[in-house]
Each structure stands twice: as structure tokens, then as C-alpha cells.
């Protein structure tokens, strides 16, 4: 699908980059003239996906995280978060609410929140190769709504 506009970022899996990633995503999404609520939803979903990479994909090392945002047709925002880490054996299980391998510092709510804040969520993973999370969210421009 042709993108009207896009950004690609890559950064190491350091937790201080969580705030950077969601802020950068929000700055890019601002092109679509979103509401404050829509902007908050984008920030939340990016924060969850990037945190998953830091905690689960690279549990004992610092690895690469790729963040790509594209504006497709009709105000549709696509967010892709990619890692080249350990991968997920059972994606279906990993996406269940309250399921976590992260101990009591994690709640197992990351995918649940991503799913409820985005219109679509797709997870592709290969053990030992990495994981890609692609999310879609239609931003209804405030100008069009007015």
C-alpha cells in the first residue's frame, strides 16, 4: 500500500527510549490533526509495543528496535514496531490478558491495551528471529469533524 508520508526510526532497547519513541510517534501523527484522546491512544500503543521489545525480545542484552509509522489513505495511521530478538513461541498465548513471562513488574496487559486502543493489531513472530507488531488506527481529522 502506498504511504502518503512515513518515518523510520531505529534505536537501542534502552528503557529511556520508551518516552522518545511515543513522543516521536505522536509528533508524526500530529500531521493527521488528531484529538488529544487519539494522540494519547497512539502514544500508549507505541509505549506498550516498545516496552515489550525491551523486556521480552532482549531480556539480557541491548538490541535494535525499529519503529515505522505510515500515513495511508483516509487518515489511516499504521504503526510497526520490530525487533530482532528472541521471538515468541506462542503468539496466541502471549496476547491473552494477564499472561506474562515478565514477573510481577509486568502485568500482562500490554497486548490487551494495544488491542483496545487500536483498530487492528497483527503480530508476526519467529522464535530466534524476532517479532513485528503492526497496528492500524484511523484518525478522524478534527477539521473534517467540525
Amino acid at each position: 500500500m502506498n504511504a502518503i508520508n512515513y518515518i523510520k526510526l531505529e534505536f537501542p532497547s534502552l528503557s529511556c527510549n520508551e518516552a522518545f519513541a511515543r513522543t516521536a510517534a505522536a509528533a508524526f501523527a500530529a500531521h493527521l490533526d488528531p484529538t488529544l484522546e487519539e494522540l494519547g491512544d497512539v502514544k500508549t500503543a507505541v509505549s506498550e509495543a516498545v516496552t515489550n521489545c525491551i523486556v521480552h525480545a532482549y531480556p539480557d542484552a541491548v538490541g535494535r528496535i525499529g519503529l515505522r509509522l505510515r500515513i495511508l489513505h483516509d487518515g489511516q495511521l499504521e504503526i510497526a514496531v520490530r525487533d530482532w530478538g528472541c521471538g515468541i513461541e506462542d503468539v496466541e498465548q502471549a496476547m491473552k490478558p494477564l499472561y506474562t513471562t515478565g514477573g510481577d513488574e509486568r502485568g500482562g496487559m500490554g497486548f490487551t491495551i494495544m488491542e483496545s486502543f487500536m483498530d487492528r493489531l497483527r503480530v508476526r513472530s519467529r522464535p530466534g528471529k524476532g517479532t513485528t507488531v503492526v497496528m492500524l488506527r484511523t484518525i478522524r481529522s478534527r477539521r473534517k469533524r467540525a
Binding site: T44, T51, V55, D104, G110, T112
Partner: protein, 104 residues
């Protein structure tokens, strides 16, 4: 991420401010653990009026506070959530475990 406190008649209020994500959560959890050890409250209110962002890492912090209070027969609840943190609370269903105080 900052945690300020008020303590009165066995009730500890934790005023969270700033952004509570995974990066901030570890230190926030440690700070809150120390405050609970210090004050030994019967009840704990988590005031979110100063919180500008929270993700599931914040939910894990709430679950942790709830467990600690439950262990000593105490109560914990959320006060003044708004905007993005409120949406995360609603989406996660954490309010079934840690209720949001009504009318605040």
C-alpha cells in the same frame, strides 16, 4: 515521575505526577515500597491528578500496591484519574481490583 505523600489518620495518599512507564516504574515501585514500610498505612489512596501518561507498567504498580495493602487487611483506591491514564485504567479493567473513588 514523582511521588509525593500526605499521611493522616492511617491513610496514606500517594500523589503521582509525570509519566509512569516501564522506565519510571521500577524506581516508582521501590519508592512506594519504602513509603508503605515507613508509614504502614491502613488505607492508601493513589491520586493521579498530576499524572500525564501511564501505560500497563502503571497497572503493574497498582497491582503491587494492592497486594501489599491486602496482606495487612488494608484498602487501596484511585483518585482523580483523567485523560490518557483514565483510558488505560478503563481498558485494563484494573478498577475491578483497585476501585476508582467516585465523585472525586
Amino acid at each position: 515521575m514523582n511521588v509525593n505523600t500526605a499521611f493522616s489518620a492511617g491513610r496514606l495518599t500517594l500523589y503521582l505526577s509525570g509519566e509512569l512507564d516501564h522506565h519510571a516504574a521500577r524506581e516508582a515501585a521501590r519508592t512506594i515500597d519504602e513509603l508503605l514500610d515507613e508509614y504502614l498505612p491502613r488505607d492508601c489512596a493513589v491520586d493521579m491528578s498530576g499524572l500525564s501518561f501511564m501505560d500497563s507498567s502503571g497497572i503493574a504498580v497498582l497491582v503491587r500496591i494492592s497486594r501489599r495493602l491486602r496482606d495487612v487487611g488494608g484498602r487501596v483506591w484511585i483518585e482523580n484519574p483523567s485523560g490518557q491514564p483514565r483510558r488505560v485504567i478503563d481498558a485494563s479493567g484494573i478498577d475491578r481490583l483497585v476501585p476508582v473513588a467516585a465523585g472525586r
